[in-house]
Symmetry: C2
Subunit: 216 residues, 2 copies
């Protein structure tokens, strides 16, 4: 159960830090703004106010002992860049940065960031998927061509049995489970009748999943 450090307690950094704490991890929150350090002092395991571009201050925080350090500084690119370089120089094993644009991301990767996240662009793409297909409540990409999706049954199939959907014969899809309210029914029998509100967990190629979603 690793310890993590998050530098920059803006909207991205503070949400990330809180979630890590909720998942049971010890988190060190760092920000040069004492007001933010104060605000999160009760929600994050430990918080300190320091300027991450100050190599001496960074050394005192013993950051190489953390499983990973997140650089959650977005608008001030130079600070983000200098901090990333300093972290790699003192030997932090895993550095994750947020960035505002793909150009900033490329630069951070070049100077040693292990991973760079573009929150606005990535949420834009993810939101488009949800907006385009509102009945698709979830999707996981498994390969370039296949996914598993969670899709709400439309009223048109309520009362039908699973076998009436011809999932395997017509669409080459596998039904992994039915989600019914708070219950999950894995590998349901083909005679199982679908109810309003049911969600189907389907595995198949993206092409066939799309075709199925459009057909129903």
């Amino acid at each position: 159960n690793g310890d993590f450090a998050v530098i920059g307690l803006g909207r991205f950094g503070s949400s990330l830090a809180r979630r890590l704490v909720a998942l049971g991890h010890v988190v060190l929150g760092i920000d040069s703004d004492p007001a933010l350090v104060q605000r999160y002092s009760h929600e994050i395991s430990q918080t300190i106010s320091l300027d991450s571009t100050d190599e001496e201050a960074l050394k005192e925080a013993d950051l190489p002992s953390y499983e990973a350090v997140v650089v959650a500084i977005g608008t001030e690119f130079e600070s983000s860049l200098l901090t990333t370089v300093a972290l790699k120089q003192v030997g932090v094993k895993h550095v994750i940065c947020k960035a505002a644009t793909t150009t900033h991301k490329e630069i951070l990767l070049k100077v040693g960031a292990d991973r760079v996240i573009l929150p606005e662009q990535e949420m834009g793409t993810k939101s488009a998927d949800e907006i385009a297909n509102p009945r698709m409540v979830g999707a996981l990409s498994l390969s370039a061509e296949a996914s598993i999706i969670e899709v709400e049954v439309p009223e048109s199939v309520v009362g039908l049995a699973i076998r009436d959907l011809n999932l395997a014969t017509r669409y080459h899809l596998t039904l992994s489970a039915i989600v019914r309210g708070e219950q999950v029914l894995p590998n349901p029998v083909s005679t199982q009748v679908l109810r309003l509100g049911d969600r189907l967990l389907l595995i198949g190629t993206n092409r066939e999943l799309d075709r199925f979603s459009n057909d129903i």
Copy 2:
């Protein structure tokens, strides 16, 4: 296959618009900045420059004919608020907004936004899940207590057969599929031997999924 309109072609709005176009939808991109309208004119089906707080200009764009309209204006809250109110007033069926804070989100929902996204906060939370559990390459929440996760097999189980993992007996987990490179093997037989790089698609309670992830 619905048409969508996106107001605000910043990082969030432009990524969202491009993704909708990639998914095969017709998209109208709107921004008051002509430079952005120009920049995306080749990537988005149709682009126009107008001020979305101008009700007359909004009426001319015939926005109620779109399946949904996205208000992707973040930093200028008043513009986002006025635009949302205007859109609902002219009868747009579905309005999706981005917002900077939970307070802004609550206000937008009160004035009629159907859905409000907080990109930085939501990506912070999502990134924390990925950082905390790097071997967990994907997860879909199915209910309050259950999920389906995609987890890479650690070297310790390579060469073992599925039945040696005691997924059902020890963890009450269902193995929906093995993902091997670009191949997906649904409902694999219990004698299937695990290889390096394999990913397991497992359904179960979050508690048991966690326990399993920690045990391996």
